[in-house]
């Protein structure tokens, strides 16, 4: 992640300003490789290390509200802090200790979600 700079606040801004293909290339090619791998796995009936059938449980597609609201809220944060969860860990590890602040804040955000969950529309 860090070598392709997806952890960079600058690159995230560049992405939201539609100024470079880079971030779209990263995400797009990642999706493509992910999709093809899964197709190959299914086609060849490959098993995992322990011999079990590999399967991805589908997401809960029966509701939409949580994805709309959660998605929007996440997006707001993503553009503000220039990092999604992976990059928060990666940047913290790279020595940018200031990023521990948004990381801890994110964990607190997750906790508050757990608290408010029964009252939120899903």
């Amino acid at each position: 992640m860090i070598k392709s700079e997806v952890v960079s606040w600058f690159r995230i801004q560049e992405m939201f300003r539609f100024d470079s293909f880079h971030m779209y290339g990263v995400i797009g090619s990642a999706i493509l490789v992910g999709a093809v791998s899964i197709w190959v796995i299914n086609r060849l009936g490959l098993n995992d290390m322990d011999g079990n059938t590999m399967e991805l449980k589908p997401k809960d597609n029966s509701t939409t509200k949580r994805y709309v609201f959660g998605g929007l809220i996440f997006g707001l944060g993503w553009a503000l802090t220039g990092a999604c969860p992976g990059p928060l860990y990666v940047l913290s590890g790279s020595g940018l200790l200031i990023m521990v602040v948004p990381l801890v804040s994110a964990i607190i955000g997750a906790w508050v979600y757990g608290l408010l969950r029964p009252r939120l529309p899903h």
Partner: protein, 186 residues
């Protein structure tokens, strides 16, 4: 040889490598690639507070904690040991627009002029660091996934839930970029 490790990588190298996390995690432990669930596990392991959302056996998801520990190490190797000493090569328009908002230091991956300990108690700093982080954590768990779980894994498996989430991510990001950031940074 170390130069290759220090230089930034093009999208067609980084992207596929990230994409390979999907089959890799499936192969190693039949797990779905996702990062934001680590927040849930960390909360469950430390302060479950009797909340139903954290009432489960987080230990069964230890692989996820290893995953994010690996990311921290990866960050150390890629960003510190083999860090890129050059300033980031941003597209001109983006650089100009950001400069107009008061960002001038493009050395490194994040704007140090904005992200630093001194700024933490200013409105600017608090918004991008504390509020931004909070919204990422809250939003990701509300949506049940972040860019890795929804944008990559979910989209790779054509999940409607993930498409909706990704659209949400983008609209949220655009709102901040075009409406909030100019206000906050000025």
């Amino acid at each position: 040889m170390f130069d290759i490790l220090r230089q930034p990588w093009p999208w067609y190298v980084g992207g596929p490598l990230i994409g390979l996390m999907v089959p890799l995690l499936l192969y190693i432990g039949n797990q779905s690639f996702g990062v934001s669930s680590s927040f849930r596990h960390l909360c469950s392991a430390t302060v479950p507070a009797g909340l139903e959302y954290f009432d489960y056996n987080w230990k069964k998801h230890k692989w996820n904690i290893w995953l994010v520990a690996g990311m921290i190490i990866g960050g150390f190797l890629g960003g510190y040991v083999f860090g890129n000493p050059e300033p980031i090569r941003l597209a001109t328009d983006a650089r100009q627009q950001l400069s107009a908002l008061g960002i001038h230091d493009f050395n490194g991956l994040i704007p140090r002029g904005l992200f630093n300990w001194h700024n933490l108690l200013t409105v600017k700093g608090f918004m991008v660091m504390v509020i931004g982080g909070f919204l990422v954590g809250f939003g990701a768990r509300y949506a049940g996934g972040c860019t890795s779980g929804h944008a990559i894994t979910g989209m790779a498996t054509f999940q409607k839930a993930s498409l909706i989430s990704v659209i949400g991510f983008f609209i949220g990001g655009l709102i901040v970029t075009y409406f909030l950031l100019p206000v906050i940074l000025n």
